[in-house]
């Protein structure tokens, strides 16, 4: 498995798209850090970019990588290698190379800015961690979608619909429900609903760490009470971790039964 990961990683880190991805984060982070007067504001802008763009890129790269390497996967499947190792290696190669682009693109400007000496250092680590977990989550879900759809167009469309749902529609529905039932105490419900969307979850974690939860009013206070607590942090990160691991476990199960 590690061998497949290694070669997959080498192939992908050399791809033009990965370089663009890295350059984008480098440029945006530099601009936000040096053009914005307040570090906290720069981080909020970065959070907005990370929680939308990383899931989108993870989704697109996941399906693209699966379909592009389909014939090569068949060649690997004809070798004396376990199926599980092939798919796990290819997926990790993708997720690790995307994460590497993101990490380096973010770390270089932040280190030059002197984040080590800033009081917002722990918030920076949260930003980094959620970005990595979102990369793993969305590339594995799109891998799973592509594996289940031999038709490329259908695979792409489904993966994009999933991203659209999680990034935009979910919040809309959520808001609609809150407005509709605003006479009821919905804080616990809102809290629960956030746990089931990795994008919302990441956003809430970072916002609470940046101490801007007050903007959210009473719900924000309930969120802060929960996510700010030790159990809250553990639970929310565990949930994000489940989001990033569960789809690949299902993928491996599906792949073990699939005909190629």
């Amino acid at each position: 498995m590690l061998r497949i990961l290694k070669y997959s990683f080498f192939d992908l880190t050399r791809s033009w798209w990965n370089l663009v991805y890295f350059a984008f984060f480098l440029l945006v982070t530099f601009s936000l850090l040096y053009l914005s007067s307040d570090l906290s504001n720069a981080m909020i802008s970065l959070m907005n970019i990370i929680t939308i763009l990383i899931p989108l890129v993870g989704t697109l790269f996941g399906v693209m990588h699966y379909y592009n390497s389909k014939e090569f996967t068949e060649l690997l499947l004809a070798q004396p290698i376990k199926r599980k190792d092939i798919f796990l290696g290819q997926y990790l190669g993708l997720a690790v190379s995307l994460s590497a682009g993101f990490i380096v693109g973010l770390c270089v400007p932040f280190f030059m800015y002197g984040i080590f000496h800033s009081e917002l250092f722990s918030q920076f680590i949260y930003l980094l961690a959620t970005g990595i977990l979102l990369t793993f989550t969305f590339s594995s879900i799109s891998f799973l979608i592509a594996l289940n759809n031999n038709n490329k167009m259908k695979g792409f469309a489904l993966a994009l619909v999933f991203w659209l749902f999680m990034a935009i529609v979910y919040d809309g529905l959520f808001l609609l429900l809150l407005v509709q039932f605003d006479e009821y105490p919905l804080e616990k419900f809102a809290l629960g609903v956030s746990l089931f969307n990795p994008i919302d979850l990441s956003r809430v974690i970072i916002m609470l760490k940046l101490d801007i939860a007050a903007l959210l009013g009473y719900t924000g206070a309930v969120f802060k009470l929960f996510f700010g607590s030790y159990t809250g942090v553990i639970l929310s990160f565990s949930m994000l971790f489940v989001w990033s691991v569960a789809p690949i476990l299902v993928t491996l199960k599906v792949a073990s039964k699939k005909d190629f």
Binding site: Y7, D11, S15, S69, K70, E71, A78, P80, F260
Partner: protein
């Protein structure tokens, strides 16, 4: 010896293989023939474990392969379509596949045979279709395994490379390898194969030597006999 016993496979509602019983004799070249969609590639993929049969058994060297993967070290499989990771160099791909299979290799012999040395440093995404097929030949046939499975091996090859591939297959036969080829080029079958498996709509229509197959038709030319079978099959 490779043996398929009472093999059935459906893709959705389409029956692709139906009660297939096949025996590939040791040390012989067998050609799998049949029109498009007759189940040739599925048959090969079932031997390799890429496609899982609904019913029946596949035996490779007397081992029933259900779910195993280790037996594939005895098989060199050349697939029909060659596509590799675009950003790896040819030499990196060769080393990578070698890395996966710690077996004796003979890549240098094949690289020289197909004149690939000038392309070793190039990225795979930059290669022409024919050169990619040559790379495919090197990475899949370098292991000197007991069984060779070649799915449309001549696609995209120039005349010189084609000639060398045919000589290579003959040499392998002399060295005692068991070889399975699928192709639509009857000349290639006439030149190389000894046995034929003819598939029609997922069933084995004929299995035997070329001479026996020719006796099935009115003509003494294999190509015409096949055309005759296909026309009669369609009419029937």
């Amino acid at each position: 010896m490779i043996q398929l016993l009472n093999l059935y496979k459906n893709f959705g509602k389409t029956r692709v293989l139906e009660d297939v019983n096949v025996l590939l004799k040791e040390g012989r070249i067998t050609a799998v023939l049949g029109p498009n969609g007759s189940g040739k590639t599925t048959l090969i993929k079932t031997i390799l474990g890429l496609v899982k049969a609904d019913k029946g058994q596949v035996k490779v060297s007397d081992l029933v392969i259900n779910g195993c993967w280790e037996y594939r070290k005895d098989i060199d499989y050349l697939s029909q379509i060659a596509r590799f990771p675009d950003n790896l160099k040819v030499v990196e791909l060769i080393n990578m596949i070698k890395d996966f299979r710690p077996q004796e290799t003979r890549e240098n012999y094949l690289i020289d045979l197909f004149e690939l040395r000038p392309s070793l440093g190039k990225k795979l995404g930059e290669l022409s279709g024919g050169t990619r097929q040559k790379v495919n030949i090197v990475v899949t046939l370098m292991f000197d395994s007991k069984y060779l499975i070649l799915d449309e091996p001549t696609v995209g090859l120039d005349p010189v490379a084609l000639l060398r591939l045919k000589d290579f297959i003959r040499d392998e036969r002399k060295r005692g390898k068991t070889i399975l080829i699928t192709t639509h080029i009857i000349n290639l079958v006439n030149e190389l194969a000894e046995d034929i498996i003819f598939l029609l709509e997922g069933k084995v229509y004929f299995q035997g030597t070329i001479e026996e197959m020719i006796k099935l038709g009115k003509s003494d030319d294999l190509e015409r006999v096949i055309a005759e079978i296909l026309t009669n099959g369609k009419e029937g």
